[in-house]
């Protein structure tokens, strides 16, 4: 499956294109000369030990790093759907509407389930009740949560279990109808059952969205991703089809990491 999808990924247009990117937090260099390409409707996994820069790169894609004082791209370009995202005419708010993000810890707003999902569409200017209702239902169905919460949409989001909360966050993200969904270790705080559900969901979402997922869980990467990128000390060591990375990597560091010899 992985092989076939990566085959036609070559013919598909590029969703994210990173060229020779350097990124600094103040004086410390977090990313060194990264180049990679993510094509539409594929799932790319970023793996690597803590502090290797995978989350930093992910957060570059929706310019979430703008919030960190002193953090900036010092060199290179990132194009999303063909647009250089650091050019002055790009509004980060518009960018984030098209590049959604799911975080490591589920972070629903202190509101009702309905309001959580309706938050993004409301910001985008949808205020008509009927339209909102259908967006919320579609997003919750898309996040495989509808059947579990349809009778208690008005209740607080904090009443949900951890796995449900994370799927609610995914629903909230896809309600904005982004093209790309970034996921920063979305399952790290979940138990195996909830993880399985979220993974199943991610595979479903692939039909509509391009997904980049950061994970520490090697099995997860093999289960869901088409291609995997291995980062180490701020460098992109290897980026290839997932099957190849885990069975027959080209570089020694990659093999050491995926076999658990370090990391």
């Amino acid at each position: 499956m992985n092989a076939s999808s990566s085959n036609d990924s070559n013919s598909r247009p590029s969703a994210i294109s990173v060229e020779n990117v350097d990124f600094c937090y103040g004086k410390s260099r977090a990313l060194k000369g990264i180049s990679l390409e993510v094509t539409r409707n594929e799932i790319v996994a970023f793996i690597g030990p803590s502090g290797c820069g995978k989350s930093t790169l992910l957060r570059c894609f929706n310019r979430m790093n703008d919030l960190v004082p002193g953090a900036r791209v010092t060199q290179g370009t990132i194009h999303i759907e063909g647009v250089e995202i650091h050019s002055p005419e790009v509004d980060p708010v518009e960018l984030r509407r098209r590049v959604g993000m799911v975080f490591q810890k589920s972070n629903p707003f202190p509101r009702s389930i309905y309001e959580n999902v309706a938050y993004g569409p409301r910001l985008a200017g949808t205020s008509e009740k009927g339209a909102l209702d259908s967006i919320v239902e579609k997003a919750l169905r898309g996040a495989a949560l509808w059947d579990e919460v349809k009778d208690r949409l008005g209740e607080s989001a904090f009443g949900l279990s951890g796995g449900q909360q994370q799927r609610l966050c995914i629903a909230r993200t896809i309600a904005v109808k982004p093209e790309i969904v970034l996921m920063d270790e979305p399952c790290s705080a979940l138990d195996p059952v909830a993880t399985a559900k979220v993974e199943e969901l991610i595979l479903e979402l692939k039909r509509e969205f391009t997904i980049v997922i950061v994970t520490h869980n090697m099995q997860q990467a093999t289960r869901i991703s088409d291609r995997t990128a291995f980062f180490y000390l701020g460098e992109l060591v290897e980026f290839d089809e997932t099957g190849r990375i885990f069975s027959n990597p080209r570089r020694q560091e990659t093999e050491d990491y995926v076999t658990g010899r370090f990391g």
Partner: protein
């Protein structure tokens, strides 16, 4: 097999430092004791001042002459006379100011021959002249008839007449304050118009009509006054001297020695009620404190209305938008230090800036024709603003902390949904920090409600019968001076002509001030807890 000695036997190390635990516990205990003591004192003394004690009658032997004294024991004390002999004395409140001059009297315990508690003694409250203690004899009516105190329906008649008098006084107040006041105001306005743009037949006609109306009102007023003074209650003091009290001035008659425990409780509740809802009398030493309660609450609420948005907006800029650096740090330190500036300094600032400068400008622009200053004098608006300034650091600091405590994840989630920075703050960050902000507002209210010193410069007065919000247009009188419980306490305790008589009022008012602050804080805390439940953020 011999038992192995335990390796975990205590070496005493685990108890090292335990004296310090006791030290900290003792510190807390002292704090708690002081608080409980303070509250206990205020509550007991405050409630005591409402408790209707028994009237006692003493036969006192004063150098051979036997004097009869009726009243309450206020306190006991020991006194050393000139010749070195010790005397136990009691201080007695005996009222009847017009008979004795002094309402209080010291009596040597040794001179007391006999003590009684006769049931027929009455305690009479009236509008002027203080309490009367004596035996009620009769009512002398204006037509010369007499209702004897021994007649069967005497009490019913007396109560009836007192109630009628109260209604008449209300009528009188309505005429004097409301209708004559309105009349006078219109006359004044018309005269001014006449002066400015010349006279016209309409003005003259209206003035004449107003004059006729005034004459009618004046006649009514005189009539009611006469009615109020027509009937008299005849009372005999304990030493047999007669007193004639106009029924129109009576407020309440109570016979403390003939009622039981529940009767006393009832009387106490009545006293508390009348303390809360009536106006002060006798230079504040009698009557109630309603205007002061009203002033305190309104001022505190208005202050919160000013301080909350101002402090929150300032804190949002300081925390969310300002570029963190030496300048912002300096501003933050200054704001924190502002909270420590002596409050009287704020009073001086309020006087100079709000009253003289802002008030002066307002008067020049909007009230150029007024002869007296309108806003260029102390008033509830300026007092509220001054206190808002005084308490704004509290709100800023609390809001900043609340904003900083909002988890990063919540902000990032909002931004990742495509919210702008302001949208994220407005719809997610602010609601999440609302409980913390309200904590700041509660602290500010508590501080503001108890502050007295600056208010004395910017609008608090000893007596302000006109409330800042009332039924006369434009209903809200932001420029009016007002009464305040804190100042009232100070005034009663230290400025009163009869500080002995004011003492119970001091404690009663203190109790009330504490109660009001507690009630306002409690309601804010309840609101905060509701919000906290609503906007609770999960633990991340």
């Amino acid at each position: 097999m011999p038992a192995k000695p335990s390796n975990f036997a205590s070496t005493g190390r685990s108890r090292r430092g335990e004296p310090f635990v006791w030290l900290t516990a003792a510190g807390l205990a002292i704090g708690v004791l002081l608080t409980v003591g303070l509250l206990g004192l205020v509550v007991t003394k405050g409630l005591e001042s409402f408790w209707p004690g028994r009237i006692e009658v003493w036969k006192v032997d004063r150098e051979g002459t036997l004097e009869t004294v009726a009243g309450y024991v206020v306190q006991e004390r020991s006194r050393r006379a000139m010749d070195g002999s010790a005397h136990e004395e009691i201080q007695i409140f005996r009222g009847n100011g017009e008979l004795y001059g002094e309402k209080f009297l010291y009596v040597d315990q040794a001179q007391i021959q006999e003590t009684q508690q006769p049931e027929d003694l009455a305690l009479i409250e009236r509008l002027e002249g203080g309490l009367v203690i004596g035996r009620i004899q009769s009512i002398q009516l204006h037509d010369g008839a007499t209702v004897e105190g021994t007649s069967s329906d005497f009490r019913k008649q007396l109560t009836q007449r007192i109630r009628e008098a109260s209604d008449r006084r209300d009528q009188l107040e309505d005429i004097e304050k409301d209708r004559i006041g309105r009349n006078a105001k219109e006359v004044k306005e018309l005269r001014l118009k006449e002066k400015l743009s010349g006279t016209s037949p309409e003005i003259t006609a209206r003035l004449e009509a107003l004059q006729t109306e005034f004459a009618q009102l004046d006649e009514q007023r005189t009539e009611i006054r006469q009615e109020l003074e027509a009937d008299h209650l005849v009372v005999e003091s304990i030493d047999g001297r007669p007193l004639s009290l106009p029924v129109g001035e009576l407020l309440h008659v109570f016979r403390p020695n003939e009622v039981g425990f529940f009767g006393r409780i009832g009387e106490m509740l009545r006293r508390i009620g009348s303390f809360l809802i009536s106006d002060p009398r006798e230079a504040n030493t009698e009557g109630g404190v309603y205007p002061a309660i009203f002033g305190t609450v309104v001022m505190t609420l208005v202050m919160s209305l000013f301080v909350t948005p101002f402090g929150v907006i300032a804190a949002i800029y300081l925390r969310e938008y300002a570029k963190q650096g030496p300048l912002v740090r300096a501003v933050r330190i200054s704001v924190n230090n502002l909270a420590g500036v002596p409050s009287i300094v704020f009073g001086v600032f309020g006087l100079a800036f709000f009253i003289y400068f802002v008030g002066g400008v307002v008067d020049d622009w909007f009230f150029p024709t007024s002869e007296e200053p309108v806003f260029k004098s102390g008033g509830i608006l300026w007092a509220s603003l001054t206190l808002a300034l005084l308490t704004v650091p509290v709100v800023i600091v609390a809001t900043e902390e609340a904003l900083a405590a909002v988890p990063r994840g919540v902000r990032e989630a909002a931004l990742a949904c495509g919210a702008s920075k302001w949208q994220a703050i407005q719809r997610v960050v602010l609601p999440a920090s609302l409980p913390g902000i309200l904590t700041g507002v509660i602290l500010a209210m508590a501080r503001g409600a108890g502050e007295v010193a600056p208010l004395m410069l910017v609008g608090v007065v000893k007596s302000a019968p006109d409330l800042p919000i009332d039924g006369t247009a434009p209903f809200i009188h932001a420029e009016r001076q007002f009464m305040h419980l804190g100042f009232h306490i100070y005034d009663l305790g230290f400025q009163s002509p009869d500080s002995e008589a004011a003492k119970p009022m001091v404690f009663a008012t203190t109790l009330l001030l504490i109660t009001i602050v507690v009630v306002m804080n409690l309601s804010a805390i309840i609101i905060r807890n509701r919000l906290r439940k609503k906007y609770a953020t999960s633990s991340f």
